[in-house]
């Protein structure tokens, strides 16, 4: 069964040069061009032209196996908008090839705040009861899930006073997983921004960013969530929307593209997208204010949606460079996906682990105790891998490290007297 031909804008930019191959984690893992950007573009063009069928499982699997990490975009000389091609293809083949049951449950939960609240509370309970720690190393999916939850455990954070306001008004995206399981990262985000002179305000009514829905092909839900967020942040009066989750930030910067066909919303979406900043961009813009902090060895990993999606690698480096105690080195495969990729670790658990394996080896070889990465999925996936490998190293957000350094400095300056 083949559908009527559709257009796939941007696919024709591909000249088949193959420069994307070595950037693609699934190609490097599976050694098949069907699992490479160049190959998937051929498949997507075939689906669009109607020469391939969306019900062809082989084709569908190759597209499902794409992480959506967009590392290929950073390697592509002719500027193929790969991420957009993939989202469009997944949306347009969603009827013929429905989203998997587990993924649908998760997506529905993310789109409904009350359900999300219940899920997050349940997860926090498991964590508080230390069931996650107990089961983190049992084999299989349960152990993986428990390790992933255990990876969100954080100690108590110390506080320090903000600086006088000298910069713009900023509203922080609270996010779903961030606020639900990694609330300390949100608090660290707020404290570090305030320490750097930003005025914080809240955006009532904000929701899930919709990135996962768009990636999975459920663009309608993604658009509904986008409209809700645009409205919420508009009425907050913030000049910037600060995002500490690379995946969310990447999606929100592209709301203009998501709502391109919506005459009533397109301009608002584009304007909103222009206000979105990764937290590291705002901190780097302000310096950030330097800190001494404790001496630690940090391995740096780049979240795909920061490096490839938003083309940002310098701002997070500047955040870490502001911390005097940190000795930071980039992981050898820092530009390559860790295998988390939104729902990917749920939908493709085995492949996700194969893709993570070389990164875990790199972390071990680096001798670092901390991996800095600015995305909740990556933090959880990498930490879970480390926990299951019996390593003591953990992945943290760069703002957590900056926050801790400010707190340490503050404590030292106020107990031992200022230097």
């Amino acid at each position: 069964m083949t559908a009527a031909p559709r257009t796939l804008p941007g696919a024709d930019l591909c000249v088949h040069c193959g420069f994307c191959l070595q950037a693609c984690p699934t190609y490097l893992t599976l050694d098949d061009e069907n699992d490479s950007p160049r190959g998937r573009i051929v498949l997507m063009k075939g689906l669009a032209a109607g020469t391939l069928s969306a019900t062809d499982d082989a084709v569908g699997n190759h597209l499902d196996q794409c992480l959506g990490c967009r590392a290929c975009e950073t390697a592509c000389p002719s500027g193929v908008p790969y991420g957009q091609l993939l989202e469009q293809t997944r949306a347009e083949t969603a009827t013929a090839r429905p989203i998997g049951f587990l993924s649908r449950v998760v997506l529905a939960t993310f789109a409904h705040p009350p359900l999300m609240a219940i899920a997050m509370a349940g997860a926090r309970l498991l964590r508080a009861l230390r069931i996650t720690r107990l089961l983190a190393r049992v084999p299989g999916r349960l152990g993986n899930l428990m390790a992933t939850l255990e990876a969100t455990r954080r100690g108590a954070a110390a506080s320090y006073p903000p600086a006088p306001v000298t910069r713009a008004r900023v509203a922080v995206l609270q996010g779903c997983v961030m606020e639900g399981l990694l609330a300390p990262v949100n608090r660290a985000t707020e404290r570090t921004l305030a320490r750097n002179g930003y005025a914080l305000c809240s955006a009532e009514g904000q929701q899930c960013c919709g990135a996962l829905h768009a990636h999975a092909g459920d663009r309608e839900t993604a658009r509904a969530l986008a409209r809700a967020n645009i409205a919420a942040f508009e009425q907050s009066g913030a000049a910037f929307v600060a995002v500490n989750s690379a995946g969310c930030g990447s999606a929100m910067k592209e709301y203009g593209h998501l709502l391109a066909g919506d005459a009533a919303w397109h301009d608002r979406a584009a304007a909103f997208g222009a206000q979105v900043r990764d937290v590291s961009e705002l901190l780097a813009e302000a310096g950030p204010v330097p800190a001494r902090g404790a001496a630690i060895k940090v391995a740096v990993d780049h979240p795909c949606h920061l490096m490839h999606g938003q083309r940002l690698s310098d701002p997070p480096a500047r955040v870490l460079a502001a911390i005097g105690g940190i000795a930071a080195t980039e992981l050898p495969d820092a530009a390559q996906c860790c295998g988390s990729a939104g729902l990917y670790s749920l939908a493709q658990p085995a492949l996700s682990q194969r893709i993570l394996a070389p990164k875990l080896n790199g972390i071990g070889a680096s001798g670092a105790t901390i991996v800095a990465t600015g995305n909740p999925g990556c933090m959880m996936h990498i930490s879970a891998g480390l926990i299951r490998a019996g390593s003591d190293a953990r992945a943290l957000h760069p703002v957590e490290l900056l926050d801790a350094a400010y707190a340490t400095d503050h404590q030292a300056d106020h107990q031992g007297g200022s230097r």
Partner: protein, 471 residues
């Protein structure tokens, strides 16, 4: 089901044999879009033993095949038209790297740039650097005798291959080594390098590693006329300077690159720019740098600047090396030519190419290894417009005829493959083409390795004499 599927699956495992047409289409072409040939089967051996077993199985069932590295070739040379494609991408181990004796032995699927990355901690690199080096494989480089910008000083692939273990199409495994100065022998390795997959499959390759130069100076000179840039190229070479690389990019190419993610800061208002790199020991290099600057200015360069740090140098090179890809944004299709002319003919040939492109109303973007006289006139076009496609085709024929008439050749580094096959008759006599066929048939008497490529079949007397063959 294809009877070979089971045989090959038993060797390499079912996941590495592809038989479904919907999955074979990704292997329909190489780096030159415009040619599409669906393979009969795709098989990817994971190591030397599997590769040998695969070739033997194909020999046993008399099945023709084509080996393929990363599919970045620009001559449609690795297309498998209804025959078996042997993908080498799984064989990507560096078997041995000896920093003292300065060689490495690698599997054929090792990516060119990854070999240099592995050699870097020892202050060494693998010198041939095709623009596709971040993707192309050593095996593919050997098949095509690949070049690259730095081949001007360091030589092409052939000059850097020390040995190869080859499984011949009939399944025999032979060891080919570069002849030693104190021995005698037929240079079968020299004949094998550049044989475009028609002589067998290399299962390991031993390459020279080259010490990194102590100092590298990369200069960018921009010109308001293409003639001026071409003149500077000739003058630099005539002055006896051997730059590590000497590349020319014209206005059309600059525009494409500057619009891409690899924007390098090339001046968009210039008619042409030269990238001139000189390298070597620190002593004596300043003199060469100064001489290059003087020569460029004398030839009319508006500005000559040197990259101030490694990052800027990398940027200048990335722009050049990704130029073909960057042209993708101009039109859906791209013709990539690869002719060579004597260096002193560069200026008149470029003028003639401009005249041809105007006459056929096509856009020619030139980006090429000027120091070698190795032209890459690229023509972005829309293949779905039959009129434009026809004009592009005719312009190409005329450009090729021009380069041959000027004493040049039809391909300097991309190989003949399918794409340049029609020009072979214009370049070589029937007797010379037949001699090539004879060489090929010594490696592959049954003509099962990459059939239909490189030499037009109507020029092969022995083959035509075989029973049941039609030209």
């Amino acid at each position: 089901m294809d009877p070979l599927t089971g045989t090959l699956s038993a060797i390499v495992g079912a996941t590495h044999v592809i038989a479904r047409p919907s999955e074979l289409i990704v292997y329909e072409n190489d780096g030159l879009p415009g040619y599409h040939k669906l393979p009969r089967l795709f098989v990817a051996p994971g190591n030397r033993e599997e590769a040998i077993a695969v070739v033997r199985a194909l020999a046993a069932s008399n099945a023709p095949f084509v080996a393929r590295g990363a599919g970045t070739g620009l001559s449609a040379g690795s297309l498998a038209d209804g025959i078996v494609m042997v993908g080498m991408q799984r064989m990507r181990r560096i078997i041995e790297l000896d920093p003292v004796a300065r060689f490495a032995t690698v599997e054929p699927g090792v990516v060119n740039a990854n070999l240099t990355k592995a050699a870097a901690p020892h202050g060494l690199h693998y010198a041939p650097d095709p623009s596709s080096q971040t993707a192309c494989t050593i095996g593919g480089n050997v098949a095509e005798n690949a070049g690259g910008p730095h081949c001007l000083k360091y030589g092409v692939t052939m000059n850097h291959i020390l040995a190869a273990t080859v499984v011949l199409p009939d399944g025999e495994v032979v060891r080919l080594e570069a002849p030693r100065d104190d021995e005698i022998g037929i240079d079968l390795l020299g004949a094998f390098v550049g044989s475009e997959g028609c002589f067998g499959i290399a299962v390991d390759v031993t390459v020279k590693l080259t010490p990194n130069p102590a100092r590298i100076c990369t200069m960018l000179a921009d010109f308001m006329t293409v003639d001026g840039a071409a003149e500077a190229v000739s003058a630099i070479i005539a002055a006896g300077i051997v730059p590590a690389a000497l590349e020319l990019i014209d206005a059309g190419t600059i525009a494409a690159v500057e619009a891409s993610i690899y924007a390098a800061g090339y001046p968009t208002d210039a008619a042409a720019a030269l990238i001139v790199e000189v390298d070597g020991p620190i002593a004596g290099l300043d003199e060469d740098v100064a001489a290059v600057g003087r020569i460029c200015r004398a030839a009319g360069a508006r500005t000559v600047r040197s990259a101030t740090d490694a990052a800027e140098r990398a940027r200048l090179w990335q722009g050049r090396k990704k130029a073909f890809g960057a042209m993708g944004r101009m039109s859906p299709n791209l013709v990539v030519q690869d002719a060579v002319v004597p260096r002193t003919k560069l200026a008149p040939v470029l003028r003639a190419i401009a005249e041809i492109s105007a006459r056929y109303r096509v856009t020619v973007c030139n980006v090429f290894h000027a120091g070698d006289g190795n032209l890459h006139p690229n023509i972005p076009y829309n293949a779905s417009d039959p009129d434009e496609a026809a004009r592009v085709h005719e312009a190409c024929d005329e450009i090729m005829a021009l380069c041959i008439a000027e004493g040049g050749t039809i391909t300097g580094e991309h190989g003949v493959g399918l794409d340049k096959l029609p020009y072979m008759d214009a370049l070589f006599t029937p007797d010379s083409l037949d001699a090539m066929c004879r060489l090929r048939s010594a490696f592959d008497p049954a003509r099962r390795a990459n059939p239909g490529k490189v030499v037009p079949i109507h020029r092969c007397k022995e083959w035509l004499a075989a029973p049941g063959v039609e030209a």
